[in-house]
Subunit: 534 residues, 2 copies
Amino acid sequence: MITTPLNQLWLYDTTLRDGTQREGLSVSIEDKLRIAHRLDELGIPFIEGGWPGANPKDGQFFQQLQQNPLKQAEAVPFCSTRRPHTKAADEPMLQAILAAGTRWVTIFGKSWDLHVTAGLKTNLEENLAMIGDTIEYLRSQGRRVIYDAEHWFDGYKQNPDYALQTLKAAATAGAEWLVLCDTNGGTLAHEVSQIVKDVSCQEIHQIGIHTHNDSEMAVANALAAVMAGAKMVQGTINGYGERCGNANLCSVIPNLQLKLGYSCIGEHQLSQLTEASRFVSEVVNLAPDEHAPFVGISAFAHKGGIHVSAVERNPLTYEHIQPELVGNQRRIVISEQSGLSNVLAKARTCGIELDKDHPQARQILQRMKKLESEGYQFEAAEASFALLMYEALECRQQFFKVQGFQVHCDLVEVEATTNSLATVKVSVNGKNILEAAEGNGPVAALDAALRKALVNFYPQIADFELTDYKVRILNGNRGTSAKTRALVESGNGQQRWTTVGVSSNILEASYQAVVEGLEYGLLLHFQAEKLLKV
Amino acid sequence: MITTPLNQLWLYDTTLRDGTQREGLSVSIEDKLRIAHRLDELGIPFIEGGWPGANPKDGQFFQQLQQNPLKQAEAVPFCSTRRPHTKAADEPMLQAILAAGTRWVTIFGKSWDLHVTAGLKTNLEENLAMIGDTIEYLRSQGRRVIYDAEHWFDGYKQNPDYALQTLKAAATAGAEWLVLCDTNGGTLAHEVSQIVKDVSCQEIHQIGIHTHNDSEMAVANALAAVMAGAKMVQGTINGYGERCGNANLCSVIPNLQLKLGYSCIGEHQLSQLTEASRFVSEVVNLAPDEHAPFVGISAFAHKGGIHVSAVERNPLTYEHIQPELVGNQRRIVISEQSGLSNVLAKARTCGIELDKDHPQARQILQRMKKLESEGYQFEAAEASFALLMYEALECRQQFFKVQGFQVHCDLVEVEATTNSLATVKVSVNGKNILEAAEGNGPVAALDAALRKALVNFYPQIADFELTDYKVRILNGNRGTSAKTRALVESGNGQQRWTTVGVSSNILEASYQAVVEGLEYGLLLHFQAEKLLKV
């Protein structure tokens, strides 16, 4: 057994399971894989990936994860106990989580007597057997088990003896973690504190906490539980979750680590928290909360003259933590210094070592700010940002130039068919090429026509593929005339890159991103391994 | 003196002062007057209206309020103490708050020695004199005084003796309330609890609490302070405020009143909390937070079949409070995990009393599941779900039928212009109509052409507007050929409804949602008030 320091806590992320319960959030398997790998990099030790027994897509997620496994983190599937009066070994749901092929599994069971009798319609003894049998069976199949005690706090308040019996059944059967869940989110911090202390007195070690935000207490409740002895904290990135969400790990982690002195993730990983938060919001296609604690764009924004000069003299007078510790930054309207260092940092990630005194550095910042005010966003579109920098540095190679395009769509309702036809005019090496192609949508047709026009000049384009395409309507209150932002992810088999386009015309926004995607792919091909030092 | 029950708390709203510090929020004087009157109706006893000495608009607000005074609440202007080495009577800022003509005023002063020496650049004695003189002067002018101790918690942690001296200076000069402010929002609940207890030991009665949300602890900190003895709670509606916001009164009030048994506002007033929250967000023109605790549209939303039948049998099993207590309502969400009970519950909210044994009920569920597996999502598109039900029940009225459409987009790169032209063919009452329209994007053009074709038959279409439009690409790994889901929100001035379309062609998906949006609007017009019983 590895000894761990006393202040070590274990984080358990459930963005990919409980987080996806948020209304309006839905993710593809690819989205889930990207998020899982990002959380792995962030240093989260347990990543709950889904409920394979309830949702076949979640089963596929674990299959695909086996092809490209996580580096450090344990991927964990989630499942309920066996149903009443069945055998655990015969339970298809449990076979599904075994098939996930993970070292750890999470099983949730009922703690509240009312849920057993009125919900499951069985007796209290059978519920204890369901918890015990299920965990024993999974242990016999070589799995390590985390037990989520559903409705723990409500159950304990109603019938503490029975609630404790359920925990003991799980512990006796071999569960290594007992996670107390505030499933309805109605518990307040002083109650969490008292109840976690009560449970700790029972000599049940390795307690975890899982809280919901229905009383706007999820983060406070998680902290209260840790201070009362819990060693595992479950939550989600950006607090995504059913109803009002789960405990927001983007607030829980810095509070625990920076204020209470617990150890959760590495210092360097903590400094990537803001980026990870925005990455997840981009992948799930939800606008980031600008006012989010710690990671929001407004979290360290300062207004007002005296205030700004004071914060510049001594940041501690107006900031509760140093924003850089969580990868965020102070934002002061009159000072562009922070913006410039951001540009330099970004340049480095694109392989460009740009000096802060380089005359073009400030110009890139201005151009980026202007584009961002128009709705462009470079957080998730590094390839477009690299092209912007190459252009400012006058080293953007022109592989081709699109002169214009036309798209035509025709839907005939009686035949229920839609045809899209695109024509493009492109000049390459001084030659004008006109090409047309069909596709099952206007963007697909446009992409096909562009490739057709370019592949004779650049045969490597045949290996490029468009791997993801996301559209977000900005200023939605202007209806279909609103601005549209398109993000296109492209790949060449080894690398992937993302480009962005913005326009009030959804096709033009998409076209911009598709064109830059092809251009950046060519750049990678011709400038591979070349580190620009400027 | 009126005797008050022991559990009475005083709420102090600062939406109109601290709330307006939120980035992106700006209000006119009329907006502020409307909000003040609404908060008065809600039963908030103190309403901070602004800082007349710093902002002339705030002075006008108080002038106008004198024409149309609040019924119950005290309007309160806010101001700092006098500047160092001046006389309070000569301070123009203080004249401005006297001119506001209110019974109560709030004065804030420095508690943290560092802010006195480094910020105000004066000595610690002078700061005490500034607090005392200012309050004495206002008392001599007949005002009752609330004292806000800025940076209280940080100051107390650094130099408790000096911090306590500032409070005593305020109390001695005649301040009736001493409000402890966590100005930087970095304090955790256990610290708030301990420090408020420390202050209470000093026999300083009438303590208030003012918290910020930078650690996602504002609500928890307010509750901790009350439980440690504070009797006034400051906060804002929807938690609006600088950076990450202030304590959200929409969460503070129900927690205090429904869970901790304190008395803040009347029971009937509490049942208007959700409406008040949405009213304020409408007036300040910010989209309401759908996931807000207590008052968000998702706060009592239920997914998942077993879950829904359980909540209908016994709401307490899955709801931490009765939603009606805060004027919110349970909402059954239609999603992938839905069972028959969700469909029936949802039908009821559409005005359709569907029996679970009705032959069509299971068919609706099957159809819905099939569509959802194709990428449709009815969670946020209740109008499309209603149309689906009407169709299954063979009572979907056909107002018009689209026979086909064509969209043409043309981008000329040299001119940097894009034109979109749409033509539609629609049959209404056996007549075929062909119409064309332009727009600054293909969907806008399509929407315009459809309205043009239909408005002569259905003049009420002129009142419909497209209020929001969202696009999401499903299975992104198929690139631009992937399926697209479009959600369209429409309105008629009184109601809003959302429809969904899915297709591999982004234009067709948008077209489906736009067409159903028009159809549902007509249905509302012609079938208003008609309850279908099947």
